[in-house]
Symmetry: C2
Subunit: 352 residues, 2 copies
């Protein structure tokens, strides 16, 4: 992250826990299967605490320290909260995390281990979010909710800057990103644009915004050319198991639509089963991602089928988070394990 210090409007001091430059993994076999010219996966699962959210959380925590805050808060039951709790622990800053009461126990444990103050809020996610906002105003806490703090987009854009630099020799035609709140695609597009403006990347790619079919506000607003507010009532409940993108009222949805348009890109939706298939596809290329991240690849497949992406295109999929946090899902979609064999070479030969 400090590599791009001049492009970040902050950071007089270096964060205690720095996000990493994550690898871009090539997937030639999968590219061939799909009929793509090339397919690369940006593996953000390697970040500290396992997701791209390490980038904005590092920025938020560093900003909070610079500005003299003692406490930083966010509402989330997922990657944002986990990365905030980890980064705040490393900076010795108090973190307060607001989670909905239905949060699964393993996810809560993941959060608790970093020692934040966890506030379990009755009601749905929106109640936790609203209470967090109110508490930040009331108690003077630093507010790390992505739609509230423009500096978070600056942190996230470093993912786009890295993709621009890592693909400079072979720039992709498309960059596919799963979309929930709209912050991530907006920020990655910003990074890719700056990379091209600075001459680091030769050009910008088209952005493919991929949403879960059961929570597709950004897609619909883009496809029908209507304001977000006119379509979001369709998704009263987010009907998808991919919790990282199960967002009914995207806080940065309009900016996401702008990013898609500015890049000459497109939006597309995928069913949950397509995400599960994509988890397995990416696994066979050596990268284990969470279902929401796999949506990116599922969208590429759908976009190839519908002619949105031309055959032989060059594509980068952003793997926003590791699949290690959702191993229960992985266990459900894997085939039954093979029968045990006796420990003899003959038994093995028969089994093979």
């Amino acid at each position: 992250m400090m590599r791009y210090r001049e492009l970040l409007p902050f950071l007089d001091r270096e964060p205690a826990m720095l996000p990493l430059v994550t690898p871009l993994v090539t997937a030639p076999r999968l590219a061939a299967e799909l009929g793509l010219g090339s397919l690369r996966v940006k593996d953000e699962g390697c970040q500290p605490s396992g997701s791209l959210k390490a980038r904005p959380s590092a920025v938020a925590v560093a900003r909070a320290k610079e500005l003299g805050f003692a406490t930083i808060a966010c509402a989330s039951s997922g990657n944002a909260a986990i990365s905030l709790a980890a980064m705040a622990a490393a900076e010795e800053l108090e973190a307060v995390v607001f989670v909905p009461e239905r949060i699964p126990r393993p996810k809560l444990a993941q959060l608790q281990v970093f020692g934040p103050r966890v506030v379990v809020v009755r009601g749905p996610y929106e109640s936790a979010y609203a209470l967090c906002e109110q508490a930040c105003r009331e108690f003077g806490w630093y507010n790390r909710n992505c739609a509230q703090d423009p500096f978070l987009v600056e942190g996230k854009k470093t993912c786009g800057l890295e993709i621009g630099e890592q693909t400079a020799a072979e720039p992709p035609d498309w960059v596919a990103v799963a979309v929930g709140d709209g912050c991530t695609i907006t920020a990655i597009w910003k990074g890719l644009s700056e990379s091209a403006a600075l001459g680091i990347a030769p050009r910008t790619p088209r952005m493919l915004a991929v949403q879960a079919r059961g929570a597709a506000t950004v897609h619909d607003a883009w496809a029908e050319n209507r304001p977000l507010a006119e379509v979001e009532s369709r998704y009263a409940d987010a009907a998808t198991f991919a919790d990282s993108i199960a967002v009914t009222h995207p806080h940065n949805g309009d900016r996401a639509v702008d990013a898609i348009r500015a890049s000459g890109g497109a939006a597309i939706t995928v069913a949950d089963e397509e995400m599960s298939t994509a988890v397995l596809d990416l696994g066979r290329s050596g990268v284990l991602v969470e279902p929401a991240s796999a949506a990116g690849l599922g969208g590429v497949r759908a976009a190839l089928d519908s002619g949105v992406i031309a055959p032989e295109s060059s594509v980068v999929v952003v793997g926003t988070g590791t699949g290690l946090k959702s191993l229960d899902h992985v266990a459900r979609i894997m085939p039954a394990p093979p029968e045990p064999v006796e420990p003899t070479i003959d038994a093995l030969r028969s089994a093979l």
Copy 2:
């Protein structure tokens, strides 16, 4: 890894999936609590597939490709197998993984997702290991069992080279590593020695080898100055829940003892509860590690108590693997979550 190419006796071609330079996270609050001058954690959980084993697996896979093998095999139900399966998938090499029949379902799913051929072998781990060895000889597969392939130590030593370079300005007095088979501590010591020999690091640290009390062959051999073979019968069953170091017959145990001696270091044992405490200690510093990795910190605490490590020393603990693979353990050791609060500022104020 390619940074150290001249120190690696192989690698004409770059592996498809490269291990990362992992962060060294400072833990000033925990250092102060323990009475250390400084405490830093080498967070190998950021590696692709979540452990230090990415380093030797990348080397094994690259070697296998260079030498023209089509298939690579190992026996393991943990990080070694998972990293091998991921790296082999990225290199489009067939991986065969031998696992004991008692492997838990989530762990098997983690392995299966990368698409290796999984051979479930009746009997204990030793049966799976023996069958793997036999199969490699019989079918001409590349054998990625750590004690068999000296190149794996070369891969692992890059962790020591990195520590040497990252701590050059403030070299640690001690580097603490959990010990199972003995390969990892041997290799990290090799890297640290080369770093000092080349003048990158100003000196070598002492090595603290930490073993589970229920599987402490290396510790006993070192403490009693006896050959490994004379003490390993004491641990017929590995009595620890830390599976990554639950080793009764360490394949590189003698080399581990040599590394401890050569560094002027020491060995120490910890109970399982000390590992659980250390998982929480490291979590509150922002790093979530698996129980076996936490043993390293548990050993530092015990070594401070017994006077092996002097107060105000500077210590590096190697976090060999992420705790995200063992969230069930994390959930068990976390305190019960707080009661839900109503979504009002007054309810929150009372709860705080």
